[in-house]
């Protein structure tokens, strides 16, 4: 394994893993505040990327407003998911909530593919690529070539992670969210409305996913089914963090991304890179094996 291959894999993995980290953070925030795993989380990544392409290419919105608009629309969709579906099913069991969010996931996918179906046909393919944020010429570093977009992805993730940390530490709303994730009943006794908190959590998670989507789509392209794999890998990141620790979630996502890039770029003999998508599941099983005792105890406690 040569040095440039290692550098290349680590840098590509950092950007790839950043997206898993953002999706994982969405899972973690929703779970800590509401106790729900939102299986539609991956769709917001798809929505972000897809909408930024739609606004820019189809409706001629300038690039930066198109990106902002994409995140805003996805955030509204996340809020609507809570208001229309989750909140109505108040005493729902875990299974019901899983099925509701799975339903929402294919509903979102179906709507996107129906609305822009003819545009995909005109485009020649339903795999779309919004434009790069800045130039296309790769930078060279230690023998590896890095697309500028990868720097945008990593930079955005670092920025978002710091912003989240500040938000949870220093703002009233952030503190209220933290309070209701520690003790929902206690929080509501001290005047924190759990429904408002849940709404904020769902909207925030959608925004995080969509931000991941707009930065990664120019690099990886996006398509209607893209949310599935991203959602799964984001879930793995969140599972590494035990659906609790934001720091571990970010580390887990980035670790998974790097692992995946090594799997794709290094020649493993008979194991082709076609298997790379399976890595998330393998890691998930390992995490569950290692953490299952702890997670089960945590579930019993809650």
């Amino acid at each position: 394994m040569s040095l440039d291959l290692i550098v290349q894999s680590v840098i590509s993995g950092l950007s790839q893993g950043s997206v898993y980290a953002l999706v994982g953070l969405g899972f973690t925030i929703v779970f800590t505040v509401t106790g729900i795993i939102n299986f539609a989380q991956g769709e917001f990544v798809m929505l972000g990327g897809m909408l930024s392409w739609v606004f820019f290419r189809l409706y001629g919105v300038p690039q930066v407003p198109a990106l902002i608009l994409a995140v805003m629309v996805a955030t509204v969709v996340g809020a609507l998911l809570y208001l229309l579906a989750i909140r109505s099913a108040r005493k729902a069991s875990v299974v019901s909530l899983i099925i509701i969010t799975i339903g929402a996931s294919i509903l979102i996918r179906g709507i996107v593919s129906e609305i822009w179906r003819e545009d995909f046909v005109r485009n020649g393919t339903d795999v779309v690529r919004p434009p790069y944020f800045t130039g296309e010429n790769p930078l060279h570093f230690l023998g590896a070539s890095i697309e500028p977009q990868r720097l945008w992805i990593v930079g955005t993730t670092i920025f978002v992670a710091i912003a989240l940390h500040l938000f949870f530490s220093y703002t009233m709303v952030g503190k209220a969210l933290r309070a209701s994730s520690v003790n929902r009943v206690g929080a509501s006794l001290s005047g924190i409305n759990p429904r408002t908190m849940a709404l904020i959590a769902f909207a925030m998670a959608a925004a995080l996913g969509a931000i991941g989507g707009i930065v990664v789509a120019p690099q990886n392209t996006t398509y209607v089914e893209a949310g599935l794999m991203l959602g799964l890998n984001g879930f793995v990141a969140a599972a590494i963090g035990g659906f609790r620790s934001q720091l571990l979630t970010v580390a887990g996502g980035i670790g998974l991304g790097i692992l995946e890039q090594f799997a794709i770029r290094v020649d493993w003999g008979p194991l082709s890179s076609g298997y790379a998508d399976a890595i998330g599941l393998v890691v998930l099983v390992l995490v569950l094996l290692v953490r299952s005792g702890k997670l089960a105890a945590q579930e019993r406690a809650s």
Partner: protein, 327 residues
Amino acid sequence: MLARLKARGAYLAIAPLLVLVVLAPFDWFLGDYTTLLIFMGIHTMVTVGLCLLMGYTGQVSLGQAAFYGLGAYGSAILTTKYDVNPWLAMVSAAAITGAFAYIVGYLIFRLKGNYLAMATLGLGLVIVILFEQLDGLTNGVRGITGIPRLSIGDFVFDTAFRRYFLVWFFCLATLLLAQNMVRSRTGRALRAIHGSEAAAESIGVNSAQFKVKIFVLGAVFASLAGSLYAHNVFYVSPGRFGFLFSVMLVVMAVIGGLASIWGAIFGTAVVRLLSDKLLIELGGWDMIIYGLILIAVMIFVPQGLFVGLRDTYERWRLRRTRRGAVT
């Protein structure tokens, strides 16, 4: 009272159902729906496993299509590449799938809801990747053709009419097996777990073990159904066993009703009619409609549409008979 009515209803339902199943494939009865009915039978076998899993363990599998795919590919590979007898291939595929499900279930069932759902979702994706990548065994995305027909001695299940009876024989056998299990010691244990897991465990029910049993049973049903599918269309390819099919199976189970065995037929029939007749004319829209069904049913009748309707009807009937007794 309600329980006894329900129990009687379940057995009474079998007789007209049997008549319906026997009459259905004849042209003069329904018209030519035999192919559709064959798929209904096959999918019902998968759905009933899901209904049991969701109703009795409080968990959901989002990768049931993978077990179905394992059955189909198991039969296809063993019969075309190794010339194994189709019946033996079917049993072997089911055994392998069951063992596989046991390992997965053993790992996951110590945890609650969310993990099994995500793990089975991931499993479903990975199995499809394997079907695509293990080129030497599966012919990759091209799929496997030339799967032989099933036969008993000289009697070959070649026409759709014959295959229909074969499939529904398996389907009804599956339903009866499921019914017996629910009424057995296992079933009582499962209901106890459903009522209160802590209480059941305190009287010595190993809840994880029973849940794994249900999961494995559902996987074996799915695998058998997959084998029947392979011997009905004579061709398998990876695209058939993906995530959307898993979701469609969940839609069938949700319409049929959680924990309901006979509802599985109803749910499967509704979805098959929807997707084969209505949605083809609409052209697309299937994801939107299935998504809406999943959300709406879970919000308004979380026990499942068929069960919800049945319970409402029985409560109404009960109230009427009571009022009759008073006057």
